[in-house]
């Protein structure tokens, strides 16, 4: 059991997501940065599906009621155990009564805390992920608060075997340098003027303060649509189309672009002009408010290759941890 002393700014329990319910309007939720989430789990001997605590901009403070092994990955939140600094991206042994404290994220936006055995909250519709907009999953369907008690599952390996695990240094991401995310244009990029389609993929975008698990609103050049008489079923605004399903990671432009993230609405009537490819959604999720983002257009073939490459790299990372 873990007792939360400080819940941070926006901390939720997440796993690999709630798939299979998109058609009824249920977004996948799940860890915004799958790499950091999976590596955290691997460090403490968990399957990648185990639930972790995802923390945004500020880490939590928590006390453990039994000896265990934990790992903090993702954004650097300067973790300490009973006041002594401990490393990120490595397994850390904690004893019953120890207090794990984390600060504000200095590089990257989201950090993950994995505990040997995983956070053991009930599954809702096949996932332990928190979806705060409707209040389901995770711990009471909400962000963590002081006084919350989180149950922990049974560790898979002997705890003693875990404590020397670490991610090789060269596999630790440098979030500050990662500002390019790859997109596939579409579904309705034909609505953009040629100039705007060009601008989307060449100009600098800035993450606004409105950037969370639901969506990332970006600031940048004005995006313009081709003039047309709106078809039956589409709203009057030039950015409106006849309703369609929104891909996760899709970019809509009501005024300023919004990239739809893990907790976003699943369909509607805005033109989605591009979609951030799945291996790069974690990169975007680690951009802080006021950070720059550049979109690079790729085709489906390149996107599939990128996904394979990312999956292989993740496998290499988890293998390196276990060796």
């Amino acid at each position: 059991m873990i007792e939360i002393r400080n819940g941070g700014v926006a901390s939720t329990i997440q796993d690999t997501g709630r798939s299979g319910h998109y058609h009824i309007g249920m977004p996948p939720s799940g860890a915004m940065d799958p790499y950091a989430h999976t590596v955290a789990n691997a460090l403490v001997g968990n399957k990648k599906e185990a639930a972790t605590v995802e923390m945004t901009y500020q880490g939590i403070t928590a006390v453990f009621n039994e000896d265990t092994v934990v790992a903090v990955t993702g954004a650097d939140v300067s973790p300490t155990v009973d006041g002594d600094p401990v490393g990120m991206w490595e397994a850390v042994a904690v004893e019953a009564g120890d207090e794990l404290d984390m600060g504000f994220a200095t590089s990257g936006a989201r950090a993950y805390l994995a505990v040997a055995g995983g956070i053991d909250v009930p599954e809702i519709m096949g996932s332990q992920s928190t979806y705060t907009l409707v209040g389901i999953g995770g711990h009471e369907g909400r962000t963590l608060e002081s006084g919350d008690e989180l149950p922990v599952g049974t560790p898979s390996d002997g705890l003693a075997d875990l404590k020397d695990r670490a991610l090789p240094h060269e596999m630790v991401p440098e979030y500050a340098d990662e500002e390019t995310v790859r997109i596939i244009l579409g579904l309705t990029d034909y609505r953009l003027t040629d100039e705007s389609r060009e601008a989307l993929c060449t100009e600098e975008w800035t993450v606004t303060p409105e950037a969370d698990r639901v969506g990332y609103r970006l600031d940048g050049p004005d995006i313009e649509f081709v003039e047309r008489e709106q078809p039956f079923g589409a709203g009057p605004d030039p950015s409106n189309v006849v309703d369609l399903g929104y891909p996760v990671g899709s970019i809509q432009v009501p005024q300023k672009p919004i990239v739809l993230m893990q907790d976003a609405v699943t369909g509607g009537g805005y033109a989605t002009v591009g979609t951030v490819i799945s291996p790069d959604r974690g990169v975007l999720a680690q951009r802080q408010t006021h950070d720059s983002v550049y979109f690079e257009s790729v085709d489906v073939e390149e996107a599939l290759d990128a996904r394979d490459t990312a999956a292989t790299y993740l496998e290499e990372a988890t293998d390196a941890i276990r060796d």
């Binding site: 700014v9 901009y57 504000f104 994220a105 409105e210 969370d212 408010t289 006021h290 950070d291």
Partner: protein
């Protein structure tokens, strides 16, 4: 005895000197603050978070305008 420190932004967002446009600022230059006193707010993800003084002292300067953009760890105010 000059012992200058800065109060830094805990997270990125928009900096506010007061809780409401009609309210007086949390702290003015020249004010004495205690550790934990609120000197401003940062708005991010549609929520407001307090920025507190990490130590007691006198605020000698604000380094960011009201409603200015701030990044994590950016110095917000000087404390003596």
């Amino acid at each position: 005895m000059s012992n200058e420190t800065t109060i830094n932004a805990p997270m990125p967002g928009i900096f506010y000197r007061q809780s409401d446009p009609d309210d007086p600022p949390f702290a003015e230059e020249g004010d004495t603050v205690e550790e934990g006193d609120v000197i401003g707010l940062v708005e991010v993800m549609k929520n407001y978070h307090e920025i507190q003084a990490d130590s007691a002292g006198t605020v000698t300067a604000f380094l960011v305008e009201n409603e200015g953009e701030i990044t994590a760890d950016q110095p917000i105010a000087e404390l003596e």
